[in-house]
């Protein structure tokens, strides 16, 4: 049972849109992700997702051109079934909290899809 230093963990990797698992509890993963550029629009049929910004900011874009900008010390919960797309002009460090069954690109399969998760 060791504590996790968030800043230290984020310094251990550089690749974007590549989730790293740093914790697991109650069937949920705590994932660290570096955002930069545009992710793919997708939805999760069965999983709600929480996005907590540690550094920087990003925009979560929804259907109908609605978007929410999330900055440091802010979080957003995206309920299951809601299409969304993350977009970060500059690098953002984000903690994602979601069920262990969740796949990063949800209902979409493309080159961004990560099926084998990496642990930090």
């Amino acid at each position: 049972m060791e504590k996790v230093n968030v800043i230290e963990k984020f310094s251990l990797f550089t690749n974007y849109w590549s989730s790293k698992i740093v914790g697991e509890l109650n069937g949920q993963h705590v994932k660290f992700v570096k955002f930069k550029g545009d992710f793919i629009r997708h939805l999760h049929e069965n999983e709600d997702e929480l996005f907590f910004v540690i550094k920087g900011k990003f925009k979560m874009q929804f259907r109908g051109e609605r978007e929410v900008e999330i900055g440091e010390n802010e979080f957003l919960i995206v309920p299951k079934g809601v299409e969304h797309r993350s977009s970060a002009e500059d690098e953002a460090h984000v903690i994602v909290f979601e069920p262990t069954a969740a796949v990063n690109t949800g209902n979409i399969n493309n080159e961004l899809t990560v099926r084998i998760l990496k642990y930090l």
Copy 2:
């Protein structure tokens, strides 16, 4: 679907050891708690708990005098079944992630037990 500003939410209440629910996803609650002083030693039979420090620091004390100090930008996951006790010399602002079924004092019932949760 509104974002949550963590600092703003913590400014909305002052009482210690009184969890406020600020989010819910996948059967889990996101709770904001202000720690100060000593909580009661307890365990949760069925729930893992995550403690993320936003401001200040606190000590998590375990059996056998083992303890872990958790400061800003650090988190600790306490697995189900593990006795623990939070202790904060000065005020600490902590986000707790745990199943909606979790009761703050776990297997103990005393004056610190909160059965009716408050939303922020």
